[in-house]
């Protein structure tokens, strides 16, 4: 690390599981180098910075902000806007900030449905709520009005909310990748803004299994077969997303007989990850008969959105399931209720 004056670093956590904050520590003892190069001005998970102090800073005073998590509430959107203003470089850190990730799968529901399932339908978090108490954005008290953040219908990614300079893919990003990014920032050797910091090849290139021609007659779930440890998992009928997923993980999942689920997101130039998966997977189905094809897909891919958009629904072209309030939408509303 250089002898330059100390920079300012912020890390923030929006709609995510917290794994990204922990992942920062995967860089190991090198965290001390980070502390030598940067003052950490905000890191709610680990340090005692205050939002108020950030608000008082000049615009662009923070050198780098690593922002993990999607935008689910008004408070998170406020923090995204604030940190964008105060930071020279804003990095969407991890899958949630980049493409919505698992929290983005809630875009298959809306606020009312999510609240119903949490506060009404006896979830483990609220075993007794017979009065059907729900979070209210405003509550009047003798001392004044109390506010809770507004919970959005649709989870947005960071770049659907503010301008993002760089993306660090992964759920969570790998330690070495994080270190590469931090080094690049400190040394000023950054790729053009808007780039994903990472490899631009796919998991297949890092996977050690033998590949031949792909022809699939039947798809299997992971528990249905015991896969051969040396042959491509996709060729054995397991839905392995390695073909469409950005490399960087070293092919960890296929190495232990588990198909890739796509946590490093799409490779360069891909607009809609799930569409690319569907395109690639459908084209290797080994049948020319429309009815048989339909049967293979119906049996083998019962949940295409869950299989192909597990990490990328919020950043996909369609972003979310249709809300029944749009258009006249009547037909869609009844159909989805039945399913």
């Amino acid at each position: 690390m250089s002898e330059k004056p100390k920079g300012k670093l912020a890390l923030y956590w929006a709609a995510s599981c917290g794994g990204c904050d922990i992942a920062v520590l995967q860089i190991g003892a090198r965290i001390l180098d980070v502390a030598a190069a940067f003052d950490i001005v905000l890191w709610p998970c680990a340090a005692d910075g205050k939002v108020r102090d950030v608000e008082k800073m000049a615009d662009g005073e923070i050198d780098v902000c690593l922002f993990n998590g999607g935008i689910r509430t008004s408070e998170q959107e406020y923090m995204a806007q604030l940190l964008r203003r105060k930071s020279k470089v804003l990095v969407a850190f991890g899958s949630c900030a980049q493409e919505g990730c698992i929290p983005g799968l809630a875009n298959m529901n809306n606020r009312r449905e999510i609240f119903d399932s949490v506060y009404k339908e006896g979830s483990a978090t609220t075993p007794e709520n017979s009065d059907d108490v729900r979070p209210q954005p405003e509550t009047e008290m003798p001392e004044g009005t109390l506010h809770l953040p507004v919970f959005y219908d649709t989870l947005k990614t960071l770049n659907q909310t503010v301008e993002v300079d760089y993306y660090l893919p992964g759920c969570p990003p790998e330690g070495d990748m994080i270190w590469t990014a931090i080094t690049a920032i400190v040394e000023g050797k950054l790729p053009p803004p808007g780039s994903v910091i990472g490899a631009n090849t796919t998991v297949c290139d890092e996977c050690k299994r033998t590949r031949t021609e792909k022809k699939i007659k039947k798809f299997y779930r992971t528990w249905q077969i015991k896969p051969d440890p040396d042959i491509c998992l996709l060729e054995q009928g397991l839905i392995c997303c390695g073909i469409a997923t950005r490399a960087g993980c070293g092919g960890l999942c296929p190495e232990v007989n588990s198909p890739c689920i796509g946590c490093h997101g799409p490779n360069d130039g891909v607009q809609d990850y799930g569409a690319r998966m569907m395109s690639a997977l459908a084209s290797v189905i080994d049948s020319d008969d429309p009815e048989e094809i339909e049967q293979i897909i119906r049996d083998g891919v019962p949940d295409p959105v869950g299989s192909f958009y597990r990490f990328s629904l919020a950043s996909s072209l369609l972003r979310r399931k249709k809300r029944s309030t749009n258009g006249n939408g009547a037909a869609a509303a009844t159909k989805t209720k039945a399913s």
Partner: protein, 165 residues
Amino acid sequence: MSDDSFEPKIVGFLCNWCSYTASDLAGTARMKYAPNVRIIRVMCSGRVDPTFLLKAFAMGADGVMIAGCHPGDCHYQQQNYKTMRRYAMIEQMLPQMGIERERVKLVWASAAEGQQLAEAIDELSEAVRKLGPLNWSRNWEENGGRIEALEAIVKEHEEALEVQS
């Protein structure tokens, strides 16, 4: 927009070798068919990535048609079988997102089948007209009072008392 004045916007991906020629034939033969399909010529129906379909819907299309050579007649030998498989996959996925299957249509039309193509366009236009507009981007544009909520946070932070250390 009232339902009476609703004119479906349909994007049609037609293969260069059969279906686009069929639409040419329908035109030169002065066949009458619904004017709702905006045709995009592609070299092969196998070129139609599911991305194109989803992008059409995301950008405001109410329906999408894919048309290509009959199976076995593909100019590129096997590619329209891939179209058939991708179409089956997308048909499985669209209802999950709340898009009715009737909004997409796969048609095989040879260069001589202008009439069949025109009929298919009429059928799709009618089906989509019955379903109504899709207005996809409206799904996320309103996000439950976000502007007011953001203003409230700024105000609250301004009013809050300074913490004395």
